[in-house]
Symmetry: D2
Subunit: 363 residues, 4 copies
């Protein structure tokens, strides 16, 4: 994998800028014969779409996806699937100031140092808007994984700023704008966000994603481990500063007798591993947790510099998510699906479709 492409065998190549004419991706390596239409992809895009509550950016994008290639009469043909999303709500204001000064905590500065030139409109390439093609590609992976292996995904916000969100009921996730698995806590979250927005500041969040039904044995033992590729995908998402699998940093204070999940004829009674041992899936749930930093574009004034290295004060106005974590859940699910899809194909490349003759063990 390299640059703007994710995956070795199910390869997603992402393109576009926030305020350019369009964003999208090309998926190469999708198995043929999968029933696929816009109806399979649009619902996932709608889950991360901006403008759906007062707690996220008010940019109004339908994120309508067009399938340009790779299907015929509703089936994938095995050739590249190009997905296109036109940008429609760009604002044609003057971005000149953003070209000259750098927002603290923002990609502005290193972009300028790397490329010497960049598209500043709406964050250009570094905008979270570029996660939409990832979500679209993830929808394709999810469909294949569900059909071939019965794999399902879920994800939720497990912390918003200072507020921990215990998982009470996954069925509640689609019922609130925070992807919170917990109806009772929603008013508190709303109040927190309202105060935050008023303050002109932003906050961080923690997201948890899970995959159920992954067969044992996916992954590779060294370097390209399943958990390594998950960490790569998740840390590659805008604003992520930490990734955990299973017990995560909690394992530091565990003893080996406590951390190692026993095996029983009926399966694993615990899951400190988070579904991965030695870089390979175990058949347990894959459990991943992410730390998402507070948005760097805030209204509060902050000290910075300009391109001439002179001190400046920066305030960011315009439309921004005060907590990018709020819309991160469907993106993190998509990334997990893309990694698993890739390893599903890598596994059958090396080991074949046909399961090795091993006795069943309950996962």
């Amino acid at each position: 994998m390299s640059g703007s492409t994710l995956g070795e065998l199910f390869r997603v190549t992402n393109f576009g800028e926030s305020h350019g004419p369009a964003i999208g991706c090309v998926i190469d390596g999708c198995p043929p014969g999968l029933a696929l239409s816009v109806e399979d992809i649009q619902p996932e895009l709608d889950r991360r779409r901006p403008g759906t509550s007062r707690h996220v950016t008010q940019r109004n994008e339908a994120d309508a996806v067009e399938i340009l290639s790779g299907t015929y009469e509703g089936l994938t043909t095995g050739t590249p699937i190009a997905l296109l999303i036109r940008n429609t709500d760009q604002r044609s204001k003057d971005y000149g100031n953003l070209l000259d000064t750098f927002r603290p905590g923002h990609a502005d500065y290193p972009y300028w140092r790397k490329y010497g030139v960049r598209d500043p409109r709406g964050g250009g390439r570094s905008s979270a808007r570029l996660t939409a093609p990832t979500v679209a590609a993830g929808a394709v992976a999810r469909k294949w994984l569900a059909q071939q292996h019965g794999i399902t995904f879920s994800g939720w916000m497990s912390q918003l700023g200072d507020i921990a969100i215990p998982c009470v009921d996954e069925a509640e996730i689609p019922n609130n704008p925070f992807f919170a698995p917990n109806a009772a806590i929603v008013p508190e979250l709303e109040a927190y966000m309202d105060a935050l927005r008023k303050s002109g500041d932003s906050c961080g969040a923690r997201i948890e994603v899970r995959a159920r039904g992954v067969p044992p044995g996916w992954g590779e033992p060294l370097y390209d481990r399943l958990d390594a590729d998950i960490a790569h995908a998740m840390m590659g998402l805008n604003a992520v500063k930490g990734v955990e699998v299973g017990a995560g940093f909690g394992c530091v204070t565990q003893k080996g007798s406590e951390h190692g999940d026993p095996l029983t004829p009926a399966g694993f009674p615990s899951n400190h591993a988070g579904g991965v041992l030695g870089g390979l899936s175990t058949g347990q749930e894959i459990v991943v947790s992410l730390a998402i930093k507070p948005t760097s574009s805030i209204r509060l004034p902050r000290p910075s510099i300009d391109r001439a290295n002179q001190p400046q004060t920066v305030e960011t106005h315009g439309r921004h998510d005060p907590c990018v974590g709020i819309r991160a859940t469907p993106i993190a699910e998509a990334l997990l699906a893309l990694v698993l899809m890739d390893h599903a194909l890598r596994h059958r490349a090396q080991c074949g479709d046909v399961q090795l003759p091993v006795p069943p063990i309950a996962p």
Copy 2:
């Protein structure tokens, strides 16, 4: 590139099993003209070598490295550098039992499910012994990065089980077997490990690694971000369950006004970013933290199953590290060096050697 190869342009392909004839790696893509001899590599291997204190495995391996190719009269030629380390202290006992039962928390089980066959001797391919070639390759990267860019690395244990280890003095790191930057705490660590060893159990650890002097602008904005590749490399290391960059999970409870590091004409006065913004280096220190789980091979009896899915009790004897985190510091440094080396070459591929005409900013 994939599987047992790390890197796109500075590619390290790892091979070997713990008790096979040899382990090693092939480095492809190293720039020509770098002065390189065994003396550049062996000291790093010695830092992770087993048997150097009572707190690590007592296996006695010199880890003597041979350079098989890629140099002529002491300079790299630009062709593949093959590094070979012969195994010398394998024990020829019966591993039959390990083939039939699975250690809780160990790669045994998913290996069997994936491949249907594996080398069980000393953990085979899943042994931490396979980190030696990574360290050897890392030494090559470190030398080039130091010469070309003045980049230096440091790493230490920041927590051992329940004991947090404040960083007091980095100069103390080589003076104790724990890589602790803190002389005063060493007796406590020794006592902790002695008690742990007696108990037959194992413990986790937290490691911190840093790179200083990385120029701004290394990395790629989307998917193959610098932090994503760091997370991939670190989570690909045996026993790692969590990775943080900069503030890491601490960013969840930070506000944007607090997390975003200001820019001043004299540089960044803080480093919550950990040296990476938008997937690109900023010129700040790269700061990475790892969670290392407790060793799965412990003497205490635990419930498990055998290949016929029958219940068994497993106890692991033989030579094992009670805390694999103790020797993890030089490995994590090597991984960070390998990722930076790869991005150094990727950067100059796309953007050239010659720095873009940007005014200096103190890092």
Copy 3:
């Protein structure tokens, strides 16, 4: 990288089907700061455009290209450049018969065996129409290579069926529909094609392409040699059955004393090498020759089978090039440019921008 992506560092990912909504490509890895607009790309597309003479397919496509991303204010930003070409002259007739029977010499049959499903409309993915995005990407590479290194390209048809076309004057190439460097022979070529078209048959061709000004030392010694990557690119073009570099198959009857180009202080007085030795460029002209087979879609009836393995007679009507070689010249130039662009970046990744201190030798 693999499948529908060409290149390691200047990566072109191609998508689309002949009669789908659109074709295009994403270029990842382009250096920043290159002035780029549609005007740089469209002229190359126009050179391969269908419908420009009676000797090629009469399909009417403007091949108007849209740049969807990767530029800002007329400069490349270093991020992916997505190029889109809408299909406009698809014919909505019934392709049912093509789904059931297989054209001799056509990709129909192995597509069906591989994928079990395919887009049959106008050849779907196997159509030569998919070379348009390659040409568009090649135009970007050509511009950078010209600006950075002064590299230029030329190509021509050196044989049409039985008629050898001696290179008399390269300036004549754009003055006839055959890309023939020879004005005198054009009437003979026209007559040949008119008779061929009337007969309902098709013919082969030989194309020669050259790059001038390539610095010495581009390429890699083993496996990914410069000539190997050129062969890969050329043999990957529709209908190509043979590739030669320099003396090509003529070297079989040469002696070493004859084949080996002498070196003199003023340069190489001959070029049997075709500009590549040991997989690396020498500074001589890169000289490549291609064999292009006759089009498989012909009006003449031929024996074949259907999907039930029953004998059938196949005749192909519709719009086809009676000699796909006629429009192959700009495509082969584009492929050569893409390979050189990739190796230009690979070279500077490993060896740097700054030339090694070697004395000049005239190429």
Copy 4:
């Protein structure tokens, strides 16, 4: 693929220099459970071994291969297979002159221009000796392809300098040092080579290789076509200047009605395609032909230059093959096997093990 690695899923990474301590390769991605021992590999190495007749280099190398990893109790485990061949007959004479002057037709010159430093001993990295690891890896691929798919390979010399060698009986190939499928012509070949050796000159050759039993549908339609990857592998072999598949350059003068192989219920009655259509295998024999240039290291004096760009006369003494084509047959077979192995795995990654429900057609 990149640099010294061949293949995407069955990846062979080659290392070593002609007169360094050792040469070898690492194979990553081999399926588990394949019975593999030195006895499977050594016979193929012996076929290309130097010193076996007076017509090839008299360097005496046993080419004894050691399997360093990747097998356990005689079965591949799915982990990297490292193969090591120690060099034993290096000659420790002064190579200083070769560092200063360049042999016409040799990689000397571009190596120096690329790297500024190189290993000159015996040609260093550019020596044909580096094909030994390729042959060793090819033996692994051949065994798997034979067991899983019944694929077999054959190859022969079809022309030596001016002497065409008609294929009369493939059974004769192992009975003469030329890999000639024709006993009657051997005396003529011997006389030709004896005269050539006496003259101090060298000659070219043409090699033909075939694979039988390849299922239809292996390959990818665009860029990474099966024939493109074959061309890449073959043109990547030392001294190759041309590659043909099927009719090759003969297709230029064929009509479409002649070139396109008919399909019948009993299979293809002809094979102008050489077994590949649209980049995918058809089920026919894969037929490949190579042009191999005359060796550049010859005794005859030739004009050249030195590193100071001053005119020099170069004569090459030492041990060299007067026709590198003589030992090229087993190497070309190995390369064809490696490409097919890679596409076998790529095919089952995307399309699965289980054949699609298509009716049989005789190949």
